[in-house]
């Protein structure tokens, strides 16, 4: 087609052969470019159409690839059953957890940054005591919920959220005070081990050997009764991890949560009927999966 056009151009416009002989190729080029155009416009448009088509195909191919921008968020639909292991990966034996230990034993559950205390409660003399199921009151709303009680060989092992329900303080500010620290001399102890006078009085009034106390603002919780509120300023008890003890292996599993959701999701003070509220807080990271390990630290040393 292009050739035909050139041929026609040769016929219509005079092609000066003498000039061609003299100037050579340049003349021919100028001649063709002048009279025929480099490549005719229609053809060029058609080819541009193909280029646009192929570009569109590239874009169409890339579109499903844009899924690379969608992060693989793990939606945790229910609480995982999570084995509690020590820092070297061996399962914790329930009967070997020290009673009334001053060491803070923390494990994450159900999400990676949701930390919880693991406690083996005992009396003043360090003998494990059975923690019975109780009804826990939320002072903020007057709502009540059922705490299932302790597990393990002596039904003395419990686990509570280690994030204070008042304003979200974390260990070492909030921690467990074994019997020997629950006395008036602890009021003058340095941070983070200072008790308030109110806390000591409340513990003595309720005849509690040990308490959980937060040094940030002085909230106190009763570990023997589902971490119920002993003294303010908190108006919500600490939520409790539901534990399961396998008597044949002596292993401990975390299987769920009761109480208000972990701070700050639970700040309306309503105990969650749908416990998965705890699982929606993406600020706490992704699910711990089927194993969670204990980390230990001693605030008193």
């Amino acid at each position: 087609m292009y050739l035909k056009k050139i041929a026609r151009a040769f016929r219509i416009h005079k092609f000066d052969e003498k000039e061609f002989a003299k100037k050579g190729e340049d003349y021919l080029f100028n001649f063709i470019n002048k009279n025929v155009g480099p490549v005719d416009e229609k053809r060029r448009r058609f080819l541009q159409g193909i280029l646009i088509g192929v570009s569109a195909a590239v874009v169409a191919g890339i579109i499903p690839g844009l899924r690379v921008l969608v992060p693989p968020v793990q939606s945790v639909s229910g609480f995982p059953k999570t084995l509690i292991v020590d820092s070297s990966g061996n399962p914790i034996k329930a009967s070997s957890i020290p009673v009334n230990s001053p060491t803070i034993m923390l494990f994450s559950y159900p999400l990676q940054n949701e930390i919880n205390f693991l406690l083996n409660l005992g009396d003043k003399n360090g003998n494990p005591v059975e923690v019975p199921p109780t009804t826990v009151l939320v002072p903020q709303t007057g709502d009540k919920y059922q705490f299932p009680g302790g597990v393990g060989p002596n039904k003395s092992i419990v686990a509570y959220s280690a994030i204070c329900q008042h304003l979200g303080c974390e260990p070492p500010y909030i921690h467990f005070y074994p019997p020997k620290y629950v006395n008036i001399s602890q009021v003058t102890a340095p941070e983070p081990n200072t008790l308030t006078v109110e806390a000591v009085q409340a513990a003595q009034k309720e005849n509690l050997p040990a308490i959980i106390h937060c040094d940030c603002h002085g909230s106190t919780f009763d570990p023997y009764h589902g971490a119920a509120v002993l003294t303010g300023p908190t108006v919500r008890p600490l939520p409790a991890v539901i534990l399961e003890w396998d008597s044949s292996t002596d292993y401990l599993y975390a299987v769920g949560y009761v109480g208000v959701p972990v701070y700050p999701a639970g700040s309306n003070g309503v105990p969650s009927n749908d416990p998965s509220t705890d699982l929606d807080e993406s600020q706490f990271g992704s699910s711990v999966g089927d194993k969670t390990s204990i980390s230990e630290s001693n605030p008193f040393s």
Binding site: Y2, L3, R43, L47, I50, A57, A60, G65, V68, P71
Partner: protein, 542 residues
């Protein structure tokens, strides 16, 4: 309507007057556009790296790598092509550098362009090393150990925390930050490099046009060439798309290749090795990334580490930086500055040779005897070769092209191939030397013979009349047009197919293969468009 929109943009963007280099017709060959290939690989790596940045967690490097590969949709496609994009950039940067070395592009007035380029190469290698460390597998950690060991070995131990921070404690955040900072630096230098090369001096005219430095077009002549828009844009798109195509296709196909021999692993295995603290790590032969294999081997030399590093890093680097000031003649032809051509050839051969040696025998100490055995022959052979080739090689190659030399060439080719297999089956230093020897003979002879051989085929064309040329070209262009249509159909099929590839798992890398094919086709389409619309039967070097 379409026309009006088009004109609206045309008026506002005014692409016709862009200040970029106007290009003569004969320069639309890839040899003149190697820089565009490097830049293409750079941009690909930056884009894929930014996507990876969304997912990478420097506090859990290995785990983050595994998450990207196994859980992020098409994460393995992005990660592996990021790796091979960096590989491509390094290889293309070397090719770009050596090409410009041999054509004398470092000479006046382009000395600064050259120096910036050498600095960018060093930065690219450094960035790639840091990026490789971010994987956090046993290879990465041992590479960092070796790197840190080399630094302390030459008395620069105080630099280790500056480069690697808390790397050994599993915190890669500093390495990640430096990785990105160095890339930003490369980008910055690239802007200056490009500005000087393209806008200040323009591309180097062919040697037939100007065989003496300073090789620049006068502005008056320059302004007569093709403007940047749209022809250069079309040509550039074809090059960039093709580069991206290869960057995607190669690693995503290699993923499906299993059981490679150990010596192929540094080059052909995109997957990470086991983590350093796993039992499997003990059985892994560690090796550095391939672009540092040469340095790894030089560290095996019997001299002290400081001398090894001076040989392997400082001498070549400083030579490259100051070569514009040593080679001060205005000759551009490689055979009219034989000393520098020889140094270039030797550098190239030594680089490849040492890298392969490091791959075959990593960490095996060598004696001086072995070093001389390995490095003297190629140096002598190339010196003799360059001295023997007269400055006007055309006569020579014609005289060479008789049946006997042809037979000899075939024999050398076979020996070359045979020696490669020999090395593959039982690697030893002597075999590597043989490969180098036959390889250099093969390349030298091949180069001398090929123009003549190629001409015997096309010899008749030269005398044919111009109109015959014209009609041949028209036929080819029609053919190109048909190919363009066919490729468009294939592209649409591939694009449709891509919607059905799973985002994670074993088959997800097929997405990368398909996307690479799509890029290749797009590149080819742009290239064919360029051919049909702009190709002239004769493109004189003017």
């Amino acid at each position: 309507m379409f026309e009006r929109v088009r004109n609206w943009f045309k008026e506002r963007i005014n692409m016709d007057d862009l200040p970029f280099f106007r290009t003569p017709d004969y320069m639309y060959h890839v040899g003149d556009w190697l820089g565009a290939l490097v830049a293409g690989a750079f941009f690909y790596t930056v884009i894929s790296g930014l996507i990876l940045l969304l997912y990478y967690n420097p506090e859990a490097g290995y785990q983050a790598t595994q998450t990207v590969i196994n859980q992020v949709p098409y994460g393995s496609v992005v990660l592996y092509s990021h790796l091979y994009g960096a590989y491509a950039m390094i290889i293309l940067a070397y090719v770009h550098m050596f090409r410009n070395y041999f054509v004398g592009a470092y000479k006046k007035p382009r000395e600064l362009v050259w120096i910036l380029g050498v600095l960018m190469l060093a930065l690219t290698l450094g960035t790639s090393f840091l990026g490789y460390s971010l994987i956090g597998d046993v290879l990465a950690t041992s590479a960092v150990d070796v790197g840190a060991g080399i630094l302390s070995g030459i008395g620069l131990g105080s630099l280790v925390p500056i480069f690697f921070g808390n790397y050994s404690a599993g915190d890669y955040s500093r390495v990640l930050a430096l990785h990105i900072i160095l890339v930003a630096l490369i980008g910055l230098l690239f802007v200056v490099h490009f500005f000087l090369a393209d806008i200040q001096y323009g591309m180097m005219p062919s040697r037939k046009v100007k065989d003496k430095a300073p090789a620049v077009y006068p502005k008056a002549q320059w302004s007569k060439f093709n403007p940047w828009w749209p022809r250069n844009f079309i040509y550039m798109m074809s090059l960039i798309f093709m580069t991206w195509g290869f960057i995607l296709i190669i690693p995503d196909l290699l993923v499906y290749v299993n059981g490679l021999p150990q010596i192929a692993n540094p080059f052909l295995n995109p997957k990470p090795a086991p983590p350093p603290n796993s039992p499997a790590a003990a059985s892994v032969t560690t090796y550095p990334p391939w672009f540092f294999l040469f340095l790894y081997k030089i560290a095996d030399f019997p001299a002290s580490l400081t001398i090894d590093i001076v040989i392997g890093v400082f001498i070549p680097l400083i030579y490259l930086l100051i070569v514009p000031f040593i080679d001060r003649s205005d000759e551009l032809h490689p055979l009219k500055r034989k000393l520098f051509t020889w140094i270039g050839v030797v550098m190239m051969v030594f680089l490849i040779q040492t890298s392969l040696w490091g791959d075959l025998a990593p960490g095996v100490p060598v004696t001086w005897n072995e070093v001389f055995e390995a490095y003297l022959p190629p140096a002598v052979i190339s010196a003799v070769g360059i001295l023997l080739i007269p400055s006007n090689p055309r006569l020579n190659s014609k005289a060479l092209a008789n049946p006997f030399t042809m037979l000899g060439f075939v024999a050398i080719t076979l020996l070359f191939v045979g020696s490669i297999f020999e090395v593959m089956s039982s690697p030893s230093v002597a075999d590597v030397i043989l490969v180098g020897l036959f390889g250099s003979l093969f390349v030298t002879l091949g180069k001398m013979l090929s123009p003549y051989v190629a001409r015997t085929e096309s010899g008749s064309v030269e005398k044919a009349s111009l109109s015959a040329d014209e009609s041949r070209l028209a036929v080819k262009k029609n053919l190109a047009q048909v190919i363009m249509l066919i490729l468009l159909v294939i592209a649409i099929i591939i694009a449709a197919d891509m919607w059905s590839i799973p985002a994670t798992g074993y088959y997800s890398n097929l997405f990368g293969v398909d996307l690479g094919l799509l890029f290749l086709i797009a590149g080819e389409e742009f290239s064919l468009y360029h051919y049909v619309v702009y190709k002239k039967p004769v493109e004189p070097e003017e």
